[in-house]
């Protein structure tokens, strides 16, 4: 059955996107820790469940969770994470693969993951083994501000860093297309600095605006999911593996009064049209009832002239079986760490430096314990002699 399905998908791939993408990847990042940020972990886990349901295998999902809400001692429902008050669906379930957890979720690791510059010791499961035929879905959630996203409450990644990393990916042929989704405060600023082709971006709120949590669970004791992600996930429940819904359908579903913030879209870097050109609510994006300000859509003008196939939601969320075995083999070699001596050196040498500077382990030239004392005594006697000589004047 699965085999058959794979074949169907292969056919579909050949038919619809010949020479385009052959595999799908997802990078899901929750960058904040602490119990009261439960909702951010739930956001990322909710996305994880959806992309997995739509067919991206665990081996192609990189999940970064900065904290473990499920095992937090404050969690009344130990081992579970829920994203809704009814607690019908345990997002943590029994089949979760968290690739980066806790203090591994750092800006450095995130950027290394994107650009593929890893230490040799990093296992394949922690690498983004994409190629020029990969479509990547990148989802970021946490506490952000204008053009930055906080990691772990002690460092932050700037929008420029991410833009540069994505551009490196483009130059290294590490993706075909990217769908970039951010749910933070002032999220739209995160995609404003992107400049590499093939990226479609969306965010939860305009600059100067907060994103809000959706609901509290009074047994868990904290907010369990953010509003924007909640409604995106709700929409995604209508999508299945064979769905023909387009990105335009997704964006047009944004309901500002419900979400509480003004989501934005950026399509000027993306070559394909978001959806049907005619008679689609997307044409009026951000102008409907409920929008307090006009919805931000960078690339609205360019949309009319775009040719090619419409961007389906499943282009990013679905699973495409890679067909070209030869290319796969070639890819593996391509993903070996870049020859970046400086990075390697710093990684290898840093622990050595730190240990030597804190532990007084190096012994005096002679290891005997009496000898230095004798030497010191001799020095003291000489010192005394000098003082006697000067002060008493032998």
């Amino acid at each position: 059955m699965k085999f058959l399905l794979n074949w169907l998908w292969l056919l579909a791939g050949i038919h619809y996107a010949a020479g385009e993408h052959t595999n799908n990847w997802a990078v899901l990042v929750c960058s904040s820790r602490y119990w009261f940020n439960y909702r951010h972990m739930a956001n990322a886990l909710g996305m994880y469940r959806t992309v997995k349901r739509l067919g991206i295998p665990d081996s192609q999902i990189i999940l970064m969770l900065a904290d473990d809400a499920a095992c937090n001692s404050r969690n009344k429902f130990a081992g579970s994470v829920y994203a809704n008050t009814g607690r019908e669906l345990d997002l943590y379930g029994d089949n979760i693969e968290v690739d980066y957890r806790g203090y591994e979720v750092t800006v450095e690791n995130f950027l290394r993951l994107l650009t593929g510059r890893h230490d040799e010791s990093i296992p394949r499961s922690k690498r983004l083994l994409t190629d020029k035929n990969s479509n990547i879905f990148i989802y970021l959630t946490g506490h952000g501000g204008n053009e930055f996203l906080k990691f772990q409450d002690n460092e932050e990644v700037s929008a420029h860093d991410i833009s540069d990393a994505l551009h490196q990916m483009h130059q290294a042929g590490r993706y075909n297309e990217i769908f970039f989704m951010v749910d933070t405060c002032q999220a739209n600023s995160m995609y404003s600095t992107l400049y590499s082709p093939g990226i479609l971006a969306t965010g939860s709120s305009v600059v100067g605006e907060n994103s809000y949590s959706h609901e509290n669970d009074y047994d868990v004791g904290v907010a369990v999911i953010d509003s924007y992600t909640h409604y995106v996930l709700e929409y995604m429940e209508r999508v299945n593996k064979t769905s023909r819904l387009t990105m335009a359908d997704l964006f047009a579903s944004y309901d500002v009064p419900k979400i509480g913030s003004h989501p934005g879209v950026r399509s000027d870097l993306f070559q394909r049209p978001l959806g049907p050109q005619q008679q689609h609510p997307m044409a009026e994006y951000g102008r409907g009832p409920g929008w307090k300000v006009e919805g931000e859509w960078q690339g609205r003008e360019g949309e009319q002239g775009k040719m090619g196939k419409e961007a389906l939601i499943t282009d990013f969320f679905g699973g495409v079986v890679s067909v070209n075995a030869d290319e796969d083999a070639g890819d593996v070699s391509q993903f070996e760490p870049c020859d970046d001596a400086v990075l390697h050196k710093s990684l290898k040498s840093s622990p050595v430096v730190s240990s030597s500077s804190f532990l007084p382990t190096s012994r005096l030239p002679s290891s005997g314990s009496l000898y230095p004392i004798l030497r010191a005594s001799a020095a003291f006697l000489l010192l005394g002699g000098l003082f006697v000589f000067v002060f008493i004047g032998v």
Partner: protein, 618 residues
Amino acid sequence: MNNRWRPLNFLRPAGDPNLARIKRRKALLSLIARRVSILKVALFIAGYVWMLAIPSSQLDRGVFIDENALQPGQVNTYWNWQQVHDADHFLSQLEFLRDSNATSEQRSQFIMNQFVKIGLSASTQDYEFTGVHKGVNGTNAYAMLSSPRVSGAEAMVISASWLSRTNEGDGTLNLRGVATVLAFSKFVKQYSLWARDLIFVISDGYMDGMQAWLSAYHGETQSNLRAQRLDLTSGVIFTAFNIDYPGHSLSHLGIFHEGVNGRLPNQDLINSFQHIARRTGVPVVLYDHKDEPEQLSWLPEAIRNHHEIKTYAAQARNLWRNVGYQASGRGSGVHGLFHKYRIDAFTMFALPATGPHGFYSLGRIIESTLRTTNNLLERLHASFFFYVMTNFDRFLKIGNYLPSAILISVAMMFGGLQVWVDAAWTKRQSEESKGPEPALMIWARRRRPVLQALFIMIGTHFFGAVTFFLLSSRWYNSISIGPLLLFPVTSLLPLVVPSFIPQNRSDSVAPLSLVLKAFNLCLSSTVISIITVLNFSLAACLAVALGIPLSADSLSSNKAVQMVKYSAYLGLGIGWILWGDMTKRMLWNWDVLGVWLLPFLCVVYFPLTLQAALVCII
């Protein structure tokens, strides 16, 4: 060079620019010097007016919660009638103990047994104070619930003292408070979501029991306290709630938050509690002020019912209580002892009433508040420690109350500097004038006896220290006429000072009294401004007590006036010694609880007034 065009040339007068600069500076300085008296008065007025304005609703603002992690009131509570039934059950047993006149030991043994039955590890602790307060002893009972899912490096305390805080521990029993803690310990045992250990303490007496327990917990030795070591210990205590429920039912929950030596808990804790309590449906008040103040009955109806006036009166009453607790340093209850160890704590006081609330509401509020503090990741921090609560939901930020005392202190400083400068000059007839016209008046410089003044000041502080040792000696406390002996001695002894100090009354030396006054004012000002950050209420009291009196004193030629002034200053400085009860209570606070008020009064405050008194007679 002066003809050259330069920007802003009109600001630069012609002539030597250096000379002009010096002239300008001199003019400015002389302006300040001439106006310093007015400036001083203005600062005093501003300071006192500001102080009076603190209770008004113009300066304060609504409370808010600063710490994200707290998330108050976001949980369902499961404390229910079953738990109320448990509490009632414990209460009836406690009442039986009360009626059978059980000793401290029997009581604590009973409480410990209850804890053990519930399934907690529990123990008791005997303590006894020695020295001046020999009779103070008792037995504490306590229990620990180890956090089921994390190592016990941190802890939270829920406590109740055997005596209620009603009238500062007048003997009213806190039976319902104890019953609540017992029932609550049984209740929380069912849950595994505690991120830190829970410690339940039933302390004996009013303050003394908790003092003994906390010193033992933190491994501190107090020379006059013999306390048994604790069998059970846990980690660092972050927060503590003290539950005080003396009545039959409760109508309001009162917040008592002032700690020993003027310390305050982090405001977030109080704010979370009042948020939760109001959500649960129980009205919250500050202290036990549930009725409107009655002192305003003499005012006409229209004014009395004016919103602003009513608010002012209510907030002024709250502030008055706050000053009483904070300035005296004794704190407003058992929670105050926790503050010494950097533990944020407050007392939930159940205002006695016939209804409508009881164990049911109280338990829910405690449960929710505990869940809130359980959410904390670390100690409450940020600088949310500097505040003055005017109501349970209103407070003043540091910038809105601190300047009042600082302004007065600055006025005193200006006064001191003015006297210092004045002391350097004398006006006399010129010797050179030989003509028929009257001799010219000359301002002549004179020497200031700095060292003598300094010796007098050091001597007065030393004298204050001796007074303190006398006051706290066992001998003094064993005789009933102690105050009547000590007061005349302390007030008459300084009279010999003028005969000791060789005074050079010549024209070329400034009078000692002027220099002493200058130093006295400057030192008082320094003391006031430094105390403001430690204990604002005390600083405000000092500013009121010392501000104008110390600025107004001067040497007079009339012996009688001198003596009247002298005795007035001494009355201000050491008169409190005559109130034996007050001194006894301060001594108890110092000896048992480590409250600094008595030594401060003796070693800092009394000498300052003594210096002012000496200014009158030297």
